[in-house]
Symmetry: C2
Amino acid sequence: MPGQHAAAGDDRAAGSRRSRPTGHDVAGAAGVSQATVSLVLGGKWEGRVSARTAEAVRAAARELGYRPNLAARTLRLGRTRTALLVVPALTNDFFATVHRGAVEVARAHDFGIVLYPSPEGINAAPDPFASARTALDGVIASSMAPEALAALRGEGLPLVMLDADEGSGDATVNIDLADGMRQVVAHLRELGHHRIAHIAAAVDSWTFEARADALHEELRASSAALVRTERAALSVADGLEAATRVLTAAPSRDGAPTALVCDDDLLAVGALKAARRLGLRVPEDVSVTGVDDVALATAVEPELTTVRLPAEQVGRAGMRALLAVLDGQRVEAARLPVQLVVRGSTGPSPHP
Amino acid sequence: MPGQHAAAGDDRAAGSRRSRPTGHDVAGAAGVSQATVSLVLGGKWEGRVSARTAEAVRAAARELGYRPNLAARTLRLGRTRTALLVVPALTNDFFATVHRGAVEVARAHDFGIVLYPSPEGINAAPDPFASARTALDGVIASSMAPEALAALRGEGLPLVMLDADEGSGDATVNIDLADGMRQVVAHLRELGHHRIAHIAAAVDSWTFEARADALHEELRASSAALVRTERAALSVADGLEAATRVLTAAPSRDGAPTALVCDDDLLAVGALKAARRLGLRVPEDVSVTGVDDVALATAVEPELTTVRLPAEQVGRAGMRALLAVLDGQRVEAARLPVQLVVRGSTGPSPHP
DNA sequence: CTCTCGACGTTTTACGTATAACTGACCTCG
DNA sequence: CGAGGTCAGTTATACGTAAAACGTCGAGAG
């Protein structure tokens, strides 16, 4: 029976003080040393500990609800089996899905993923390492502004870049948006469109430059005219403004565009609104396409014709690439396929 | 000049091996002991270290780019100044904004926030502690299914619940959705609506029960009829289906509803699509309201009349409540105000 | 002159884990 | 029968930090 003021100190085996049980507590309960507990629970006991003892240790651990202290493990090992996923914003379900894919692979390899949503949007220099609150083994990051990327690289951690310039990280997982643009242009050409406008994202990020380059290339190759380009921040409201400028401008020498190719679904939805406000019917008077296939794309009327990105595969491939880099392997750049999803926002050109 | 195979061991002060510099390295550079470094950088040096020495230490730390090893600190202190934020999904920008608010307060108090998006949606039992990969001081969680909540409570960590039953955590930050429903009903009554249908979220979560109760109460109080209730999962597609059922059903004794009150903006957007597909005009033939005021609400045509939730305040209040709980204070339940935002999806009743 | 006290640091210790190095007991084989 | 080997563990140690406990030196009090 404990006295009025209990003598602190011994009797660790009881383990019932207040804190979580430690490896020593498990060892006491199982009648072995802490080292044996660590061996057994770490799975490296074959040939070092008898099967009967191992089972006893596992039983004791289960009984006490033991879970190793991650801080202690990290301190000892110097690595955390944890990766940071840097995304521009949480609202875009593309990145939510990327996250899901990455988590799926990470889990299978006993890795954790900490999510860092850059609070100020895609262009902000991230300070993820203060925020993550834990040491990190590596980083997976989506396309971002050069300064932000430089800050990230400066940390010296293994870095996998998603949808970014090859060579900007230790590995790259890309999306074949050039092919996406090819499919978009082919689709529009088939519908008779040959005067096309581009609503471009006004974001300093490799992926959008690549989209523009690919679009220009394809238009040239299919001898369609790029009537006009307007830039807009990545939001429905800015897309609306930019599309309004395009649709109300004095026709250029080639005439008004019959199709608006948007860098992103948000911009495309803005374009739909712009057309409606100007009394134009979609797709009868003007066709609109996006990129991403976010949930929003099917929420609007008409539903959006868009390029579906393999978000979950991107996440999975990103995590796999990071694991390979950590393993010292050389990783070749991936380039994942995309698929045009034709819905109601594109139709035959009014002026074929 | 180092020999061919350098003798490992001493010369820590140089610190230029490969790893991050430690407190010992800083101490060596500043000509003091590691303990002094810890005191100075920990800010508790007043009266224990001279101002000149303190400055020397800070200079050395800056020079070497020293940042304390979080694992070691955690191991020593047993707490991490890190909170877990459990949200049902990332796609909803309500939660993205909650996160932003929580981060803002956390940052001011040198706290970190780790985001845990329950991968399987709001009803899944979370396993955040394996995923977080770091010890946690407390948890902020949004409304969730009872089993998931029980699992979370079982961890024994301080718990702040958002938009949930009071008493389900150590503190609660609520949203005055009862008042929101009051405003919705008042608005609709003013427009002459008295036959109203409810598109309810088919989610086992306190907040949606509360919304239903409040709606029923308000309808009774204003002598309007609840013509019908349909339940739907939280998506545009399910909202569309549910609204279609409502709008095509044989009119009940009270006649067809002239307004659809939806538990959520996603459902409301689904309702907009359903109306359009059935050839009904919004708001001329039927009015629609949502709750949340997510970005989607202004992306659709007509824009959605909805109840704007104070997402950022919820996040801030949640983090503040957690800090207070950790500080041992008793926290009274908050109840944050909401605001009806009237847009184009509501209009005068066709049958006043 | 001694005693005390404050200012300024240093030495030491604990945190919980993973693993290298070590210890006996038992077995095998020349 | 003893040298070496395997099995089944144990003991000892390092990781980097925070903070309690412990000097040391000079100044002022008695």
